[in-house]
Symmetry: C2
Subunit: 341 residues, 2 copies
């Protein structure tokens, strides 16, 4: 009926007794350096067989306590609700494992308090390196890590105290804006200033994208008014609300929009649907981030796809080089050809 409750887990001492040898020999065999420890292959095989039979699993806590390196690498990430962060996390895990590291990831929901707690917890787990992805206060995290003698890196959003790998937001936004303006000219016959919507005015990426947005307008000789910049936050509801408010403002909404993330695009699309513009071919959109279904939305929405493999390659290069200086490495994003539906 009832399962026999296994009170204690198998340890190397149990295996040693079963094999009629010492814990030391078992450890040497199971950690793979039995040749260096001059254990005979007979004994090694016997130990490995018994370990297998007993379903032995290493106690990492004990192992890590003794060793000097934990081989644990931590990452904090704001959300899992879009393709950008999803692919960062998936590829990060993969690349970490390929390098013999154990990745620990935690989601901090863009909450500064949670970020700090998560960082503290990761330090307790003896991470060797902590990647702060899209952190609201990356420098705080770098300071905490530094105090514990742990390396840290920033990804997606830069910090002033540790190396940062980010997209080239300025160039990406400039090109995206240029494309939206061109599309707008093609569809409406003339170029009109676009609306910038989404993101936080206080974050570096949004600021740089706004700079690129302005620059592209200037390049093409189009003036942008200040009220066309709505850095209203990332959540879909915020974009929706910002558009509502802007629409109430009196003067007509621009026909073209630069949307600062797929998450904000969700809100924008909801607003568009509500206001019966969904099939309005004169609406010209672009989005700084990529999602497979957006391609299929049929409005010929331009997208910028951030180069996640490129960014993570840089991250691991930095880790392996041991660099600690607060450089900012900008990785050019990819801008696929938008396909007209």
């Amino acid at each position: 009926m009832n399962q026999v409750k296994q009170t204690k887990r198998t340890t190397i001492y149990d295996l040693a007794e079963l094999a009629g040898t010492s814990a030391s020999a078992v450890s040497a065999v199971l950690s793979g350096n039995w040749k260096k420890r001059r254990i005979s292959s007979q004994l090694a095989e016997k130990i490995m067989r018994i370990a297998e039979e007993q379903g032995y699993a290493l106690n990492m806590q004990a192992s890590l306590l003794r060793r000097e390196k934990s081989h644990i690498i931590g990452m904090i990430v704001p959300k899992y609700d879009n393709r950008y962060f999803g692919s960062i996390v998936e590829l990060f895990e993969d690349m970490a494992r390929a390098r013999g590291l154990f990745p620990i990831i935690t989601c901090t929901r863009r909450d500064p308090q949670l970020e700090v707690e998560a960082a503290r917890t990761m330090l307790s787990y003896q991470v060797e390196c902590l990647i702060a992805t899209g952190a609201t206060d990356p420098d705080r995290i770098t300071e905490m890590c530094a105090a514990a003698g742990v390396r840290s890196l920033n990804l997606d959003l830069p910090g002033a105290l540790a190396p940062s790998v980010i997209s080239d937001n300025f160039a990406g936004a400039r090109e995206l804006t240029r494309r939206i303006l061109k599309n707008s000219e093609q569809r409406l016959g003339k170029m009109e200033p676009l609306l910038f919507i989404g993101g936080r005015g206080s974050d570096h990426n949004t600021a740089e994208r706004i700079r690129g947005f302005r620059e592209a307008h200037a390049d093409l000789g189009v003036a942008v008014h200040e009220e066309n910049i709505l850095a209203c936050g990332y959540a879909p509801e915020k974009a929706e609300k910002a558009l509502d408010e802007r629409a109430l403002g009196g003067n007509a909404l621009p026909k073209g929009m630069f949307v600062n993330s797929t998450i904000s695009l969700e809100g924008v699309m909801r607003w568009i649907r509500r206001s019966d513009h969904l099939d309005d071919r004169s609406l010209v959109l672009g989005c700084f981030d990529w999602d497979p279904f957006v391609t299929l939305l049929g409005n010929g929405i331009e997208m910028v796809r951030q180069d996640v493999p490129g960014m993570l390659n840089k991250v691991f290069e930095l880790i392996e080089s041991g660099a600690n200086k607060p450089v900012v490495i900008q990785v050019p994003p990819l801008i696929p050809e938008a396909q007209e539906a």
Copy 2:
């Protein structure tokens, strides 16, 4: 005396020396049970002040080695590339933390080998409980956990050896199919058998959904031919390829499709675009899974949204109740009203 050596991390022994007391007192104070250990509040305050000054961080490995409970809860998850798994992971982390547990999540890419390795690693980290989400071989994982005396649960896909929390795939698929057939009747004037595409014929969810798919056809008196069931796998390319092959088969493709995941829907939509059916209003689609942009795709695609909070509530109920019997708990999915574009 003061911190100059950044090579070693501060331990309770360092703090003890600085405070002129014992490591034991430091441990008692910092672990919060100094009242039970009868430490004076004067000494407690002093120790806490010094710990703060030194930026002390607990060594979790040492702490966990000594304690009997790790408070670590593990989850393996197949992918991060869709909203369903994304929200599972995000909410799981949240609920785990709310219960004082430390969540560790790892992505196994639907790879049985990786699943086993991930499970072994999690056991090494002394997880108290392991949630196998959408595992290809859940029973293998349950066996590994049982051998280590660790609890395990299945989520999304059921196993025979541990409690499982899954969607009511049969009922969800039946209702989804019914809706697609009704839409099909409305748009085409008649009901024709649908195409089922995506998923693995070998997995329980796909099998149950196919059963619901057939049942709904039977309910409405529509016959489905075997060749209308294409359980071609989850990847977008597989769905795309399966449609290509099916289209080459000679007889015309059905106008209505039941797509078994958003990931498969990506492939289906790509195929539709390629074959110039994108604006074909006679195409009637439904998808077992939810994505915000799919709502906006404009084909009036019906969706089933799996009840992630409901499922995770059940998961934590099971954990807290200590149940170990291999029951299967089916959580009804939500079927929002599809909005016609």
